[in-house]
Subunit: 228 residues, 4 copies
DNA sequence: TATGAATGAGAGTTCATTCAT
DNA sequence: TATGAATGAACTCTCATTCAT
């Protein structure tokens, strides 16, 4: 029984009138979410400098003005995008429950997760690059960002400690370096895949190539951790 | 071993032509070199989208018009910068004479060289990032770029082969993956050092930190290559 | 003598409704008064062109929308502000009861009143300037404004006439010109005091300077009126 | 007596290229002069806040971009307009050669000059008003402005001194106050003439009205200076 | 009555590029 | 070869105003 004869604004986010997209949303939360999603995509695609507010607004299906209503301006929007993005990856990481896995499995899971996360969220790498081009000036201003990483190294540290205790891993491996190395192995391959493909002459993202790289990375990490 | 054939960015502000710097150069080669150096620095600093032709001209101490005289426009200038840059690193690599070193020494030298090159030429990483943001569309158009990498993998392949033959390295390591891994270890650490410092809470480029990272990377690579 | 019947700008920030200031006023008269006070201050501060509806709404502590509810728009709001303002000064003038004073005292009182009014209500001058910049197009549309000035010249005329009759003033002084002159002497000094201070190099609004100017103006007017 | 040495705005409408008005001037001095003239007119008409860069560019017949080439922006353009304007009036004043006239004639000439200058250059008053609305923040930054007024008061001082010596003027009249009064009498009448016409009900700028006001002002000043 | 979301037009300013000398 | 003037198209951001509740 149809009780909603009237066209509801905001309704368009569901099924039905997807193509009709009502002109006025009147749903500030949705509007902000749309802006953030569009901004993330655009910043990732062309960088902070290359991104156009107008394009973001169009992609988000909102009026340009709204961006200034909800976010102060381009820079603040960028900062918010970064905060959301890093919150996401850290949240997913925690959801892995690595502390309940045996050390070898935990490492394998973490390396694999990192790889898959980059693969499924290529904007992540692009935005990290952008932020580093700007010398991290946005995250440095962000309280939320700092808090997010409280205890970040500990997670891996505990796994390594357990592995050392069990005899699976050698002692004395610096956890921060290990962290950086796990990230590096996947990140570099994927973010630089375009020039890489020209230089090395093969498709970096074919199913086989991806599997090969993940295996190689696991091998690299386990070689490093293996006791002599 | 000469590692500094290359024109260094910022070079123009030093020594050399300081007094001679006549207002009208009338020296097309110098002019082009100045433009390229300035462009490299600027593109590295703020990306392709963020770079301003006017700023480049000012930094180069030449008239804006000259950029259009010698290079067709911004995009072409960027492409040329990339070509020069990659030519430089490949040239220096070849100058290392790795094929005359014993395999273990050769690997050590290559890992160390790569690390040091990134360290001394941070624009390199920044520009590679930029080019990948643009999906390698400039180098794809460049014949010079392709030619530059003919036989690039072979160099490392031969070292590995020699190492396998001598029993220093295990067999079956994919050279392209090894290449990518060597690059990744240094690159990621250095290019993402700004966000990294916020996340990990230490100075990434202190003398000690740098030495520690290089040692860690060498350890990682040798662990990987070590026969079981 | 009550000179403060008028609602003072900035009044709303004081006393009165401080505690009562519920978030939702539901008091249309208060709301309108607040808007007018805020608008007056803002128009005076930055002119008609420079004033922002949003700023006025914020200062008034009301929703932007209300301005359009009670006044048609920015221009109409400005017109209303002008009407209120001129009503105020004319009301205060009448309250002086000049017709009950001896001519010399009446003139002294009027010159002094005018001077003090400008001094205490600097927005008055600023708004008059604004309206003249716009060639009086708002007050020309205002019936209320015209009615306000019916018999305005007469007041002074009667004083002058009495003074001529008593032998205190010379005959033949044009009352409109006198009016304009009395206004001019105070107005110019105060409205242009900022550039004046730079040009003449002294503080125009120190206690001494103000007294000096008032004395000078009284001297000027009485010299003019004095019979030869 | 040449009062029109100054370059008049609209001057460029002379000679040659009247109809042809070349699309590209390639005459930076002309271009700057055109911009300044247009800016002066526009700022005078609608104030600093109300003036539009685009409108100024159109009036000047130049590309909008040029305004940013020659002047840094709107505020700087406004400042330059003010500097030019005040330079003009001070230059013309000096050209009067008041120090060669007998004191009474000198005062008459100065009052008359001031009146006529305002009459012929109504933008002057409008711009002074604007600058005072902005609390003189532009001229305060201008070195040129301060220098312009070095010795400004002296000119009148010497005349008054000579008049006192000759017995034409009474002693003890403050020159700064006199200066301000002479300016005030003309300025107020002319700048507020639009509201004035509504209030007083006569045409302020008819030939007769203007003559009447000038005579009244001369009378006011001479009454003030006349020895008892 | 009151509110906050939404809008389109246009503001100042900057950019890559071309013209004239 | 070299220069500086000139341009038109954007770009970020702001404004007065209206819509929906």
């Amino acid at each position: 029984m149809n009780m909603q004869t009237t066209v509801e604004p905001g309704e368009e986010s569901r099924a039905a009138d997807k193509p009709a997209r009502a002109k006025r949303l009147r749903d500030p939360i949705q509007t902000q979410a749309r802006i953030l999603a569009a901004a993330k995509a655009e910043f990732a695609k062309v960088g902070l400098g290359g991104a156009r507010i107008e394009t973001i607004a169009e992609k988000a299906g909102v009026n340009k003005r709204m961006i200034y209503e909800y976010f102060k301006g381009k820079e603040e929007l960028f900062q918010t995008v970064l905060e959301e993005m890093w919150t996401d990856i850290r949240t997913e990481e925690r959801a892995l429950g690595l502390d309940h896995l045996p050390p070898v499995e935990a490492i394998r899971a973490y390396v694999t997760f990192t790889w898959n996360y980059y693969l499924k969220n290529p904007e992540f790498m692009s935005l990290v690059n952008s932020e580093n081009l700007h010398r991290a000036r946005h995250v440095k201003k962000s309280r939320r960002f700092s808090e997010l990483h409280r205890g970040f190294v500990d997670m891996l540290q505990q796994i390594v400690d357990r592995g050392v205790a069990s005899g699976d891993f050698k002692a004395g491996v610096d956890t921060s370096q290990l962290h950086l190395t796990i990230a590096a192995l996947g990140y570099y391959y994927l973010t630089n895949r375009f020039t890489g493909e020209v230089i090395f002459g093969f498709d970096f993202v074919s199913k086989e190539a991806l599997q090969k790289r993940l295996d190689f990375n696991l091998d690299t990490i386990f070689s490093l951790l293996r006791p002599r």
